[in-house]
Structure formats: structure tokens, C-alpha cells
């Protein structure tokens, strides 16, 4: 393609966008709304994923060693834990270390545990265990409970399982919703294209009479779709960026214990996903509409 032609096509496309007025606005709006909803779900999904990962990081089994356990039992226990195929991390916390921790946690009130050092320490030795797959935690906990020298095992059951269930459901619903949205978007865009048909068919017919090749007819439409799709993607990116910034600012003051994906990461993802998607939607939409009417 000659540079001159390229400018000609882009010029034609811009002219057509400006002069088609409300049709252009409608096309941009369809792309923008579709991508806005899609983008919002992506933002939600990123955060659910992040929170789930966070929780998974924190999920651990605490195994308390029986006070009465013999040295031999303790050694066996350690070996069995380390040798367990599903175990990711095995950390021994001695009763002294546990007491130190408790003191630190109590801070100003550490005097409460003053005098319990050494032989008087009421705490027990324990293990902090993390499984390779966090979801396996209940099964593994059940198995190791039976090991020799174990007093009892605690893994926050009643909290962890419902949480995993909940994030699973959110994910699935998001996926189903997005699939439904994609179908709706295709319908919306197809409908918008059908609206442009009347004017377009005549224009394409004229171009053919003038002696334009199919590609010469096609290019301005392709550029037009590209530009419309691009604008249609930039709008939701801007909205999501500002909206998300506000949401994060609010979350940080109100529910500070939840860590969210940073706005910079979100904008990067949005640009990477929504921009190409908008351009593809636009180009595809216009190409399909010309294709149908090149065969006049």
C-alpha cells in the first residue's frame, strides 16, 4: 500500500466517522459499554484471585506435639512430616519460641506472661505446616492427626473451606457472565452494523460503478472500524482507571485489611486486553458489513 493511499484511506475513514455522526456514536457506545462491563468483571476477578492467593498463603496447619511424647516419637514425627508427599513447608516452633512470640504479640502487656520461662512454660512445642496445594489442607490434617506424638491438629476448619467454596463460585459466575456478555456483545454489534447497511450498500454500489477494487472499497471501512473500536476501548479504560482508583482509596480507609491489585497493574491489564479487543471488534464488525455488501 502506498503511503499516499494510506493517508487517503485514513482520511476517508475519519471523514466518514465525523459525517456519520450519531451512527459513529452508537458504534462507539456499543463497543465501550461491552468493554466496560467486561473490564469491570476482569477487575473483580483479578481481585478475587489476589485475595484467594493471599488467603492461601496464610492457610496452615498447626500441629501441637504431645507433651508426654518420647524423644523417639518426636524424631519419628518430624521424619514423617518432612517425608509427607503433599507437604510444602515444615517449620518447628519450640515452646520457648512460642512464648517469645506471645510476648511480642502482647506488647505492653507482656508482663502477663512474665515468669513462665523455662520449665514453667505452659505452651507446647508445635509444627507450622503448609501443604503444596492449599485446598488439600483438610485431608492432610486428617492424616497427620494419627501420627505418633501428636496432641492435636488445628487448621482453621470452618473458615478455610467455605472461603474456598465462595471464591470458586465467584469465579465460575464471573466466567459464565462473561460468556453471556460476549454473546450479547456480538448481537449488539451485529445490530449496529445492520443499521449502517442502508447508507453503506449505496456507497459500496457507487464505488463499484466508479471502478474501485474490492480492497479499495474495503480499506476505509476497515480503518473506520479500527478507529471506532479504538475510541470505544479507550473510554472504558479511562472510566475503569478513575473508578478503580476511587474504589481502592475507599477500601484502604475502610477495609484496610484487604490488599487489592494496584491501579497501575489494573490499567496495564486493561490496556493490554481491552484495547486490542476493541480494535478487533471494530475491524471485524466493519469487515463483515462490507463483505456482505461487496457482493451486490
Amino acid at each position: 500500500m502506498h503511503i499516499r493511499s494510506l493517508f487517503y484511506f485514513i482520511g476517508e475513514a475519519l471523514k466518514s466517522i465525523a459525517r456519520n455522526g450519531w451512527m459513529s456514536v452508537a458504534s462507539i457506545a456499543v463497543v465501550a459499554i461491552t468493554l466496560l462491563i467486561l473490564g469491570s468483571f476482569m477487575v473483580l476477578n483479578y481481585n478475587v484471585t489476589l485475595i484467594t492467593e493471599d488467603v492461601k498463603e496464610q492457610v496452615q496447619i498447626v500441629l501441637y506435639v504431645d507433651e508426654e511424647a518420647s524423644g523417639e516419637d518426636r524424631l519419628k514425627l518430624q521424619q514423617k512430616l518432612v517425608g509427607h508427599p503433599q507437604m510444602e513447608e515444615v517449620r518447628f516452633v519450640s515452646r520457648d519460641e512460642a512464648l517469645e512470640r506471645l510476648k511480642r504479640q502482647l506488647g505492653d502487656r507482656s508482663y502477663l506472661v512474665e515468669g513462665y520461662e523455662g520449665e514453667d512454660n505452659p505452651l507446647r512445642d508445635s509444627y507450622e505446616l503448609r501443604t503444596k496445594i492449599p485446598e488439600d489442607i483438610a485431608i492432610v490434617a486428617g492424616e497427620i492427626k494419627e501420627y505418633p506424638g501428636v496432641d492435636y491438629v488445628d487448621y482453621g476448619s470452618g473458615v478455610v473451606e467455605p472461603l474456598f467454596q465462595f471464591t470458586g463460585v465467584v469465579r465460575w459466575m464471573g466466567l459464565i457472565f462473561m460468556a453471556g456478555l460476549a454473546v450479547t456483545a456480538v448481537f449488539l454489534i451485529a445490530h449496529t452494523i445492520r443499521l449502517t447497511v442502508y447508507i453503506r450498500r449505496k456507497e459500496i454500489m457507487i464505488m463499484k460503478y466508479v471502478g474501485a477494487t474490492d480492497w479499495f472499497i474495503r480499506w476505509p471501512f476497515v480503518f473506520e472500524g479500527l478507529i471506532l473500536g479504538f475510541i470505544g476501548a479507550v473510554i472504558p479504560i479511562i472510566i475503569i482507571y478513575y473508578g478503580y482508583n476511587t474504589a481502592v482509596a475507599w477500601a484502604q480507609t475502610n477495609i484496610y485489611f484487604v490488599s487489592l491489585v494496584s491501579p497501575e497493574d489494573i490499567i496495564e491489564e486493561m490496556v493490554k486486553v481491552l484495547l486490542p479487543l476493541g480494535v478487533i471488534l471494530g475491524v471485524l464488525g466493519s469487515s463483515i458489513s462490507v463483505r456482505r455488501f461487496l457482493k451486490v
Binding site: 459525517r19 454500489m205 460503478y209 471502478g211
Partner: protein, 235 residues
């Protein structure tokens, strides 16, 4: 003797309408010479538009032979037909068919852009008397003015022939005469072949040659030794 431009023999055009086959052309012989103004006359439905579209390379005949010089249009590829339309043929329609989103100048430019030896657009605009209307859109122009833009567009690519389908069909008498005069002038000044199809017998009085079409067949051909000027025609 004028030089032969187009020679078509036994042109047939069929349309399949469900179960029925409709014949728009039933075996038309048609010749076009350089620098002549031909009127194809016939009642509506006689196959005039079909013939014009085949001559112009927009449509293919179902049967028959069709030569433009050595170029055999009947066997041409899509691409060859496109080049033929682009460089050899200018179309003019009853309803002007201008791009609604382009100005007068841009409409003409559209056709000049892709042609191999285009004419100067502003010069053409001046000749059709629309220099002032250069940047107006079709909706801001009268029917006669739009048709004059369409003529300038048809001519801008400097084609060998102008094919006009009822060019005055939706114009008042004065505008119609103006358009006919332009067509006659371009035929003479630029040495173009002009074909006008119409059902208006008056217009045939200004033709060098009149081809009568009836029921998809050529009824008769008349040579007019003393054609009237456009101003002398009236209806």
C-alpha cells in the same frame, strides 16, 4: 468512417426468479463507435439498464460475445472488469448516486483518485458551472446540480465512454436540457462516446444514432444525419 469502440454479438441475459427464468436480453447485437452520441430508446422493462450494465462491465452477459478492442469482456476476470470500469467507463444515473458524505469536489476526486489519467477536477467543476458549489454536499445541491456533479465525476477519470441511465429522468425541463447540453459538449469537445438510455423519444432527436430496444431485442437502428442541439429539444 468512425472507429469501432465496442462490438457485442448475440448478448443474452437470464435471471433465475425461483422456478421461472426471466430473459432481460434475448440476443442483442450492439456496436458503439468512437465520438458518437447514441440514444437507446425503449419502454421500461425492455432491457435497457441491463444492456448498459453489461456494456459498462458491471454485469456479465449470460451468453454472447463482447469485445472492447481486443479485450474480450465476456471472458474477463473480476479484476479486469474492475480496471475496465475504472479507466474506460463513466456511469451517470437517474438518481445521481453521489456519495452523500462527500462534497462535490470529493465525489469527483473519488473517481479521479483511482483512474490512470484523470482530468483536472477544478477545471471540470468550472465547465459544469459549479465552481461555487465545490465544497457543498449533495443534500445542499438541486437535482440538476447533483447530476452535473455526477457528469463531472463520470468524466474525471477520462474514460472512453459515458454511459447514462435516464440522466434527465428526475429533472425539470430546464435542468434536463442543461444536462443534455453538457453531454453533447463532452461528446464533441472531449471526443467521448456517450450512450443515453431513455424512454423519452424527444431526447433521441439529438442523437447521432438511435437504437430501439423492445422485449430484450433490438427492434431497429436509425442513423440521424442532422441531430438537433440540446436547446432545440423539448418535452
Amino acid at each position: 468512417m468512425a472507429k469501432l469502440l465496442i462490438e457485442a454479438r448475440n448478448i443474452k441475459k437470464r435471471y433465475q426468479m425461483g422456478e421461472v427464468i426471466v430473459y432481460a436480453l434475448r440476443g442483442v447485437d450492439f456496436t458503439l463507435y468512437e465520438k458518437e452520441l447514441v440514444v437507446v430508446l425503449g419502454p421500461s422493462g425492455s432491457g435497457k439498464s441491463t444492456l448498459l450494465n453489461i456494456i459498462g462491465g458491471m454485469d456479465r452477459a449470460s451468453e454472447g460475445e463482447f469485445y472492447f478492442g481486443d479485450f474480450h469482456l465476456h471472458e474477463a476476470s473480476e479484476r479486469q472488469l474492475t480496471y475496465y470500469r475504472r479507466n474506460e467507463v463513466g456511469f451517470i444515473f437517474q438518481f445521481y448516486n453521489l456519495m452523500p458524505n462527500l462534497t462535490a469536489y470529493e465525489n469527483i476526486d473519488l473517481s479521479a483518485q483511482i483512474a490512470e489519467n484523470p482530468l483536472d477536477i477544478d477545471g471540470l467543476l468550472e465547465q459544469v458551472g459549479l465552481s461555487e458549489r465545490r465544497d457543498h454536499f449533495p443534500s445542499q445541491l438541486s437535482g440538476g446540480e447533483q447530476q452535473r456533479v455526477a457528469i463531472a465525476r463520470g468524466l474525471a477519470k477520462n474514460p472512453r465512454m459515458l454511459l447514462c441511465d435516464e440522466p434527465t429522468g428526475s429533472l425539470d425541463l430546464a435542468s434536463g436540457i442543461q444536462v443534455l447540453k453538457l453531454l453533447r459538449d463532452f461528446c464533441d469537445d472531449y471526443q467521448k462516446t456517450v450512450v443515453i438510455i431513455t424512454h423519452n423519444t424527444e431526447i433521441s432527436k439529438m442523437a447521432d444514432r438511435v437504437v430501439y430496444l423492445k422485449d430484450g431485442l433490438v427492434d431497429k437502428v436509425e442513423i440521424n444525419d442532422s441531430p438537433l442541439s440540446a436547446e432545440q429539444v423539448s418535452w
